[in-house]
Each structure stands twice: as C-alpha cells, then as structure tokens.
C-alpha cells in the first residue's frame, strides 16, 4: 500500500480566507502559506500585474531575459515561473530546432508497356525530435495550469519547447550543470530559505552561466521606500480588495521589508559561490535585477 510522503507543513492549500481585521496582519511565514497565497491569486495574477505596473512589468521582464545572456539553442530554467511570462520570453530567444530521421524506400514501378521505369521515392517521416529548450518550475499548481493553458492558446512554434514542472525552488529536481541560463521573476523574495534557493540554482547552472533575478527593490533610499509603501497601501491593496485579495497583496509590503537590498543580494550570491554578482536598479528604483555568474 502506498503512503503519501508527509512533511510537517500546515496544509491550507485551496482554502480561501475572508479578509478580516484579525487576519490582516497575520504574517505569511511558511512556504505552505505562500504556496496557498499564490494558488489563490492565480486567476487574476496576470491582469493585476498589468494593472499595478501599467504594463511596465513586461519591459522589466525583457530586461531580465536579456541580462540572463540566453541565446539561441540554449537550455534554460525559469524558477518560480508563475503563469509563464518569463518562460514565454525565454522560449522566443532560444527558438526551436528539430531533427528529422528518414527511412527511404525506393519503389520501382513498371508501366504497362514496360517502356520505362518510374521510380517513386517514399519518404516516411518517422520521428521529429523536438529539442527541449525551456524548463519552467513553480510550486503553485494553479499558476502552472494557467501557464499551460496560455501555452496551448499561443500559436508560435517556439512556445512548444517549454516544459512545466511542479517543484520547489529549494529542492530543485535537476541534474548538476544542466542549464545555460536561469531566471527568477518576482520569486526570490517569496522564498523562505533564499540562501538554499541560490545554492540550488548555482548547482544546476553550467560554469560561466548566469542567473538573472528580477524583483522589487528593497531600496536604501527612505524616499523610495516611502513612495513604495504608499503605492501599496493606497493603490495596490484597495484594487486587490475589489478582487477579494486584500490580504494577499498586503503581504507584498511586508515581503519587501523582509527582502534583501541590492548589496545584500550581491553578497549572498558571492557567499553561495557565484564568481560575479551585480545588482541593477530599474523602474525608477522600485525594481531591481541581480545578475550572478556561476
């Protein structure tokens, strides 16, 4: 008889909580809480990203992909892929290749008068091997379902080269030195054990490859921090309330406060073993992108 592997994590996945004053300041501490949060916001995640950033998140994500150094033919990893924005951008960069194997049969045909031979070459396309190019991983089942749906709706051939994996960023299910580049978009901030996640990414990258990590910037400027807090309190949370997700987006403010500054991220990357690490502030200093080289 099979037994489900049990871990000592509270199981609240799938339960919707009504926002109320008792729960508004409940910290979203453990990984299971965060997993449940991202499952709950999955249906509106894309729309709210567009709304809150006025579409700018698309530009920042293109910058993240560019910084990753990804090129045609690479095999790349997107961690915390969510609904797939970065994965789709990566797949456009790496393209699609295939290999054809033919079995040829020559059939000789004689016409009725035997005056000439006709020759027909029968080609049978027996296999089309599609190179795997983009692997996208997330721990939210709902986000992955949306990503897979978006993939099936899109017509570009290159999007077929994405494989979705349900997995944990701190226990990556990949062999060492498997990837030519990696990205994480708005994911590292949400990971409880960020050091472990960085260690895992280090291991799965090939030597000389880069990881490009986009997220909110925990600014050292008090003006920037104040403006960021104001925008979350008076724009993001009220809009999210309309979707019944006030608590989920209130979490955003605390998560930025608990995140690392650019300097701290560079330091962490160095401690984990990356040979180079550089943090870039973008989006008027509200966003940041760490680029670390294995």
């Amino acid at each position: 008889m099979a037994t489900t592997l049990q871990f000592a994590l509270p199981s609240i996945a799938g339960r919707r909580r009504r926002p109320d004053s008792r729960s508004i300041n409940r910290p979203v501490r453990c990984a299971a809480d965060r997993q449940a949060l991202f499952n709950r916001i999955a249906p509106v995640y894309d729309n709210l990203n567009d709304l809150f950033s006025l579409g700018r998140h698309r530009v920042w994500k293109r910058m993240t992909v560019s910084w990753s150094g990804v090129k045609e033919g690479d095999t790349v990893l997107d961690v915390c892929c969510g609904s797939g924005d970065l994965a789709f951008l990566l797949s456009e960069k790496v393209g699609i290749t295939g290999k054809l194997r033919f079995e040829g049969v020559i059939a000789m045909k004689f016409d009725q008068t035997d005056s000439y031979l006709t020759e027909a070459l029968c080609l049978e396309l027996v296999e089309f091997w599609q190179d795997l190019r983009v692997i996208a991983l997330d721990f939210s089942r709902e986000q992955l379902q949306i990503a897979a749906s978006r993939q099936s709706e899109r017509s570009k051939a290159c999007y077929k080269n994405i494989e979705w994996i349900e997995g944990d960023a701190v226990e990556l299910p990949f062999s060492k030195s498997s990837f030519d580049a990696a990205t994480i978009g708005y994911g590292l901030r949400n990971i409880v054990d960020r050091r472990k996640a960085m260690e895992e990414m280090y291991k799965v990258l090939k030597p000389g490859s880069k990881v490009s990590i986009l997220d909110f910037n925990k600014s050292t400027s008090s003006l920037n921090s104040s403006i960021q807090d104001w925008m979350i309190d008076y724009i993001v949370v009220p809009i999210a309330s309309g979707y019944g997700l006030a608590n989920e987006y209130h979490y955003l403010k605390n998560s930025i406060k608990e995140y690392l500054t650019g300097n701290e991220l560079e330091k962490l990357a160095g401690e984990v073993g990356f040979s180079e690490a550089k943090f870039y502030e973008i989006g008027a200093g509200f966003m940041g992108n760490l680029v670390a080289t294995r």
Partner: protein, 85 residues
C-alpha cells in the same frame, strides 16, 4: 509519394520528453528518476518514492512523493531506466 507520420518523441502515456527525463532527478536525493508509463509517474528507486505526472506536468515537490512500500510497487514499470548520472 510522401507519407508523413510526425510523432513527437514523447512518452505517449506520460507526455514528457525523453530529453526532459534525462535532466530530471529526485528533488531529495538528486539521483536519476525512472519513468514508469504504467503508473504515469517518475520513480526514485534510491528512496522508493514515486512522483506523479498529472496532465503532462511532473509533480516533483518532495511532499508530492508517494512512498512505494512493496517490491511489486517498485518493480511496476515497463520502461527501462532512461536517465544517466
């Protein structure tokens, strides 16, 4: 005459490519996984755990793993080992 039978080199049952199966390892042990089309899962023989594949998406969060308790469960595969270390 040209006859086309384009078939992606994917497992018909699991829907994951053999190339992906080469990269995937057990998230806990980092050892290779064995694809099992009969149970539509990826087996970590080193710890006797099975990870399901649902709608072509492998579920490789450690808590998704199912402990295989019998030798019959462990041997219930019609696929040879597809991974290399």
């Amino acid at each position: 005459m040209v006859r086309r039978s384009g078939v992606l080199l994917k497992s018909a049952a699991t829907g994951i490519s053999s190339r992906l199966a080469e990269i995937l390892v057990c998230p806990l042990t980092k050892q290779p996984l064995r694809m099992c089309e009969k149970t539509n899962s990826l087996i970590s023989d080193s710890i006797g755990v099975s990870y399901p594949i649902v709608e072509w998406i492998p579920r490789l969060v450690p808590s998704d793993g199912i402990i295989l308790q019998s030798d019959q469960d462990l041997n219930s595969s019609d696929s040879p080992q597809t991974n290399s270390s």
